[in-house]
């Protein structure tokens, strides 16, 4: 895989208000408009409330009269005022204008703006590139139907291209959210929803599962890697190839370990006999940035620790601890690192 031109191995801060994609940019504009209206409304109302009370307090101080003795403090002050006052005569007009009229005008404006933004967020490309994302407890299966390959926990896409994610789930409801690129969309078992994504910068974005999905909902994260077209094509080309067959040495021993262990029941390495479907496809594991759906950076040390006992990092996840000897683990790691 060619190196990223921008050195984008550091994840961008995720932020709704610093958009990096067309969808998020539209929403951020809406956010700022709504925020300023909100600030204005709060300022006006709170000012009126403070003025109403402060003026009243000042008047009350002026006409302070001696309270009848013998009553507790709380009732003394109230006894000063005969309860005969009436609200201002313009009260009804104020309520109708400031409480209903003005907000109605503001809200209708915001409603129209919101609906037009909603419409603009739809998938617009004629034949958008489609990526299927399937939710699992607690990781993401990512399929590229055009390339015919499957990866996990990261979505790679070309910049300045609208990509349509087709979302579904095999177990419970999840929700895919990449704040810098667009709003979120739920992954619902038995249904397919879609979410357009379009990144404007070749960089790496942080994403998360936003719908509570069980024990490890918190560590069901993902990254979205946007690449320039050439880099993306090279990446896709590489991903569509099966895993390299190691000739000999530690890597070949590692493959033996893999095929002889429980790994194969859950994981697939294309080009070998490992074809389990319960866990992520490992064919190009080494090309990914994270392990355990964003739980750890993908380094050799982390990978070793994850294989031996992933429960310490991500308690409750579905991968059991592996009973491997030191040499077995080392050769397995050597093999897995060849899976670029």
């Amino acid at each position: 895989m060619p190196p990223e031109p921008t050195g984008a191995t550091t994840v961008q801060l995720a932020s709704v208000v610093r958009p990096q994609g067309t969808g998020a940019a539209l929403i951020a504009d809406l956010w700022w408009v709504m925020l300023w209206f909100a600030v204005a409304v709060c300022a006006v109302v709170i000012t009126m409330l403070i003025v109403a009370i402060a003026r009243g307090r000042a008047r009350a101080a002026e006409d302070q009269v001696a309270a009848p003795a013998g009553l507790p403090r709380t009732s003394r002050a109230s006894a000063q005022f005969p309860a005969t006052g009436q609200p201002p005569t313009w009260a009804n007009s104020l309520v109708l204008s400031a409480g209903v009229g003005v907000p109605a005008v503001i809200l209708i404006g915001l409603l129209v703006y919101s609906l037009s933004a909603h419409r603009a967020l739809a998938v617009t490309a004629e034949r958008p590139m489609t990526i299927e994302v399937i939710g699992h407890q607690w990781w993401w299966e990512v399929r590229y139907p055009d390339g015919g390959f499957t990866t996990a926990n990261e979505v790679v896409l070309p910049v300045d291209t609208q990509v349509r994610l087709e979302l579904t789930s095999v177990d419970v409801i999840h929700s895919l959210w990449v704040p810098s690129l667009n709003g979120k969309m739920d992954l619902i078992p038995g249904q397919v929803t879609q979410l357009p994504l379009e990144a404007s910068e070749p960089t790496v974005f942080w994403g998360a599962c936003a719908e509570f999905c069980g024990t490890q909902h918190a560590k069901m994260n993902l990254v979205v890697r946007a690449m320039r077209r050439a880099a993306f094509d090279a990446w896709a080309e590489n991903q569509s190839r099966p895993a390299l067959q190691p000739e000999d040495g530690a890597a070949a021993e590692g493959l033996e370990v893999l095929l002889g262990s429980a790994c194969v029941y859950c994981h697939t390495v294309r080009g070998t006999n490992a074809s389990g479907r319960a866990g992520p496809d490992l064919t190009h594991l080494a090309s990914r940035l994270t392990l355990g759906a964003g739980a750890l950076p993908n380094t050799r040390g982390n990978l070793g620790g994850w294989i031996v006992n992933s429960q310490t990092t991500k308690p409750g996840n579905r991968m059991p601890p592996m009973q491997l000897s030191g040499p077995e683990l080392q050769s397995l790691l050597v093999y897995l690192e060849t899976l670029e």
């Binding site: 801060l13 932020s15 208000v17 539209l26 929403i27 809406l30 956010w31 709504m34 909100a38 709170i46 009126m48 409330l49 109403a52 009370i53 009243g56 307090r57 507790p72 403090r73 709380t74 009732s75 109230s78 006894a79 005022f81 309860a83 005969t84 009436q86 609200p87 009804n92 309520v95 109708l96 409480g99 809200l107 915001l110 409603l111 919101s114 609906l115 909603h118 419409r119 177990d171 409801i173 929700s175 959210w177 704040p179 709003g183 969309m185 739920d186 619902i188 078992p189 249904q191 929803t193 942080w206 998360a208 936003a210 719908e211 509570f212 024990t215 490890q216 994260n221 964003g294 409750g316």
Partner: protein, 882 residues
């Protein structure tokens, strides 16, 4: 004319005797008195509040730094589930119901709520349900699927015993909530003081009426939804299972049809509280009363039309999303109306900033912030970003703590003199206010930003490096400040009860009727029922604009109540704390009736007196009924269905005892002519002798109507489920299920329709005094009804498929089962009325039970016919769905 003193003394003694709360064991478990039970509701709910608050502190500690290992993920997930569920189901709504139980009769001028035994039943069911729910901690099966429990996560494949605790514990609470809702609504409609026309109803009573009606509808939907989910889990039904044709989004629709009104069930009474406190401290009537009431009603209605704004990220069509956005924004107009009405009330007044008023100001400020973020999340695109993040966590805590808990604290400070007979400390109140206000904003304001920076909600931890650290740390520190604020409230409550200041009557100089009750509050609130001539009877005799409109109604009222007696006589002993211009206490009704509990019934709109409503005294039946229901709910949890059966039998027996009139009651109504001779002074107004009859029985009729309203919602919910499932199914019936046959169902429908006639004829007969006709017609109705039930069960049994086959089979059997259950219930009621008819219980005036039973049967016929049309005809309609 003048009642001689010894006779009055005797009567008062008898009166106080019949209202006395029993001591000891019976006092604990048999009391049905609204003020006891209201106070218990509030104390219990504050206990749950404290428990849920401590859970929140644990959660905030876990989130104080990234990658924290203070709590493991399972524990964290259990804590947020229990925190949310407890706050929503066990704290806020029960507290408000408790406040309503306690304050409504005093505010309305009634001696108790409409159905005292139902008050007790609601409380015990709440307590037992809450205990079942919390007992999950004992067996380490704590619910952990979140307070809205979305399937499939909450389904049998992903959640174990814990979900059964959640579903069945809360199911019991919902049932209790519906009972309380019906009772509160009927009380506001029918038991108001003479002269308290609709435009003299205090805003909080309006709010409680709207809350109660919303509870009856919304809680029923939730109750049905929880039962459907439990059917899925325990018996393999497939309502929500996508593998067998079900749809997990059906749950989301049903849940939020409940869940969104739930927010306003809490918020509307909170605004009602504010609309009581602001006028008191501004020393003047509420501005724009009419608009405030209309705004609350509008909020109640619209709240049922915006549930799907919780589902914007499930891929709703654009048109639907636009509708729900518009409806959500409309709520803001209702809130704006109220906020400006409060500002107008304060404008130019001399408000005193005692503790209740401080919390009201804090409420307006915090709620405003929660309101504007509410408009943001109503926008589909913006919601797609912030939905299910800590931004939303911040938003709804602003709405719920600012919008509801602050008014609740204001209410405690304001009404404490009525609750405990003591004032709360102002000094501690000031600490309480500032600690909660500052602590609250410190806790929740930063979470808006955490959400915008990509922090989803319900995460037990978060990675470093996303910039979330400072906001979470500030929030955790704020949570402890907030907790200190709530602790100071608790200290204040305890200290005041132990050694608080004894307040004078009406310590705040308020204008509404509850402050006319002497302190400490007597069990019966009012010895002589008040006659009201103003929205603020303690302030004015009706000079306000609202009062002018009621003037015409007054003439009728005055006639019925008799001319107002002179002022000295108008105030019985103990009520002489003030000389109030807008209220009189009719001495001719002083301590009337004395040998049993009763309160005046008035007409819904004009509050013209119609008669006397009999209120039941202490009884063990409510707690035993609640126990039966709880045991029935426990059965599936402990996998002992015999326990469910035993509980159901216990509950059914108790219900029968409950509804069967006591010999004392029967003697009273059937031999009423003799009783009134020695009971009433000769000059008592005529309505005080009217114990039975068409108008007098109206509170019962309203109660039955609301029960049937709840029943209609049950049918409606299942029909919604039916058509929702159908809409998203390729073929209907699903799978290899054949179309249902028509011949026998058609025969059953004809039988059902025919069974309606004898019931109508029977009730007509008894109104003409024909008791024999009633007996015969009812017997015939029973035979036809049983024939229908038999044929119906036979039809269903021959259907040839079981519910676990697919979603169509599930909803078919679900709806058919509902038809069976409703028919059985209605037949049981009709059977009881028939037995009573055989014993000669009814005559041309005393026949409410027969009328009610007829109404229930009429509803059953209509609802079952609709259900039959859907079951047998809908699958044949082409062109629906795809």
């Amino acid at each position: 004319m003048i009642t001689d003193a010894p006779r009055l003394r005797d009567r008062v003694e008898r009166f106080e005797g019949s209202w006395r709360v029993p001591r000891g064991f019976a006092g604990w478990f048999a009391t049905v008195n609204n003020s006891d039970l209201g106070a218990r509701y509030m104390v219990t709910s504050l206990g749950f509040f404290a428990a849920a608050g401590v859970m929140a502190l644990f959660m905030r500690l876990q989130l104080s730094v990234p990658e924290n290992t203070f709590l493991d993920p399972e524990t964290y997930n259990q804590l947020f589930t229990m925190h949310g569920s407890t706050m929503m189901y066990l704290f806020v709504v029960p507290f408000l119901e408790g406040l309503a139980n306690f304050i409504l009769p005093q505010m309305l001028g009634a001696r108790d709520l409409a159905y005292p035994r139902l008050t007790a039943f609601g409380y015990w069911l709440y307590l037992f349900g809450g205990l079942v729910f919390f007992s999950s901690f004992l067996v380490d099966a704590v619910p952990d699927a979140g307070w809205f429990a979305y399937p499939p996560l909450s389904g049998i494949d992903f959640s174990g015993l814990a979900m059964d605790f959640w579903l069945l514990g809360l199911g019991a609470i919902e049932l209790g909530g519906i009972a309380t809702g019906i009772e509160l609504a009927v009380t506001v409609l029918k038991l108001r003081a003479v002269g308290m026309t609709l435009n003299r109803v205090p805003p909080l009573a309006w709010a409680f009426l709207i809350m109660a009606l919303a509870i009856v509808v919304a809680f029923t939907v939730l109750l049905v939804a929880t039962l459907l989910l439990e059917l899925d889990r325990a018996f393999g039904f497939n309502f929500f299972d996508p593998v067998a044709g079900g749809n997990p989004l059906l749950w989301q629709h049903l849940f939020w049809i409940f869940g969104h009104p739930e927010v306003y069930i809490m918020f509307i009474p909170a605004t009602g509280i504010v609309s009581m406190i602001v006028p008191t401290f501004a020393r003047r009537p509420l501005a724009a009363y009419l608009y405030v009431v209309l705004a609350m009603i509008l909020t109640g209605f619209v709240s049922f039309g915006l549930w799907a704004h919780h589902m914007f990220t499930t891929g709703l069509p654009l048109v639907a999303a636009g509708f729900f956005t518009a409806a959500s924004m409309m709520i803001a107009l209702a809130s704006g109306t109220q906020v400006f009405a409060w500002i107008a009330t304060l404008w130019g007044s001399r408000p005193r900033l005692a503790a209740p008023m401080k919390f009201v100001i804090g409420f307006v400020v915090i709620f405003l912030l929660g309101g504007v973020t509410g408009v943001m999340v109503a926008s589909v695109p913006l919601d797609a970003q912030v939905h299910d993040t800590h931004f939303v966590v911040a938003h709804f805590h602003y709405v719920l703590i600012g919008g509801v808990v602050f008014p609740i604290m204001a209410a405690l400070y304001y009404w404490m003199p009525l609750l405990s007979g003591k004032l709360l400390s102002e000094r501690l109140g000031t600490w309480n206010f500032w600690l909660t206000f500052v602590g609250f904003n410190m806790t929740f304001f930063p979470l808006h930003i955490a959400g915008l920076l990509g922090m989803p909600r319900r995460v037990y931890t978060y990675p470093p490096g996303l910039g979330l650290e400072p906001y979470n740390l500030i929030s955790t520190i704020g949570a402890f400040v907030l907790a200190a604020g709530f602790a100071s409230l608790l200290v204040n409550l305890v200290l005041s009860v132990r050694r608080g200041v004894d307040p004078p009557a009406d310590p705040w100089g308020a204008g509404t009727l509850e402050w006319a009750v002497p302190l400490p509050t007597p069990n019966y609130n009012f010895r002589a029922p008040p006659v009201v001539r103003s929205l603020y009877p303690l302030w004015g005799a009706g000079e306000g604009r609202a009062e002018e409109r009621a003037r015409d109604a007054d003439a009728a009222t005055a006639d019925a109540a008799g001319e107002a007696p002179d002022a000295d006589r108008a105030i019985p002993e103990g009520y002489a704390a003030g000389r109030w211009p807008g209220v009189t206490f009719d001495p001719r009704l002083d301590a009337i009736p004395s040998t049993f509990r009763a309160t005046p019934v008035t007409s819904v709109i004009d509050a013209v007196p119609q008669g006397i409503w009999n209120l039941t005294g202490p009884s063990y039946v409510p707690i035993l009924t609640a126990l039966g229901v709880t045991l029935a709910a426990l059965g599936p949890i402990v996998s002992a269905y015999w326990l469910s059966g035993a509980g159901a039998v216990l509950a059914a027996v108790c219900m029968a005892v409950w509804l069967w009139p006591t010999p004392d009651e029967r003697e009273r109504v059937l031999a009423r002519r003799e009783r009134e001779e020695y009971e009433d002074p000769p000059d008592a107004p005529e309505f005080s002798r009217r114990l039975v009859g068409k108008d007098t029985a109206e509170p019962g009729l309203w109660g039955v109507a609301m029960f049937l309203g709840s029943g209609a919602v049950v049918y409606g919910t299942l029909l919604f489920a039916y058509f929702y499932l159908r809409l998203y199914s390729g073929a209907w019936p699903q799978g290899a299920v054949p179309l249902p046959e028509l011949a026998l169902p058609a025969a059953a429908a004809v039988l059902l329709l025919l069974s309606g006639w004898p019931v109508v004829a029977g009730t007509r007969a008894i109104r003409r005094g024909n008791a024999r006709g009633l007996k015969n017609w009812l017997g015939m109705g029973l035979v036809l009804g049983l024939a229908f039930l038999g044929l119906h069960v036979w039809n269903v049994a021959r259907a040839g498929f079981v519910p676990s086959l697919n979603a169509y089979a599930s909803v078919f059997h679900g709806l058919a089962g509902l038809v069976s259950l409703m028919t059985l219930l209605a037949l049981a009621i009709q059977f009881a009325v028939w037995l009573r008819a055989l014993r000669g219980h009814f005559d041309s005036v005393y026949n409410a039970a027969a009328q009610h039973s007829g109404l229930v049967w009429g509803f059953t016929v209509a609802a079952n016919l609709v259900a039959y049309a859907v079951l047998y005809l809908a699958p044949r309609l082409a062109g629906f769905g795809s």
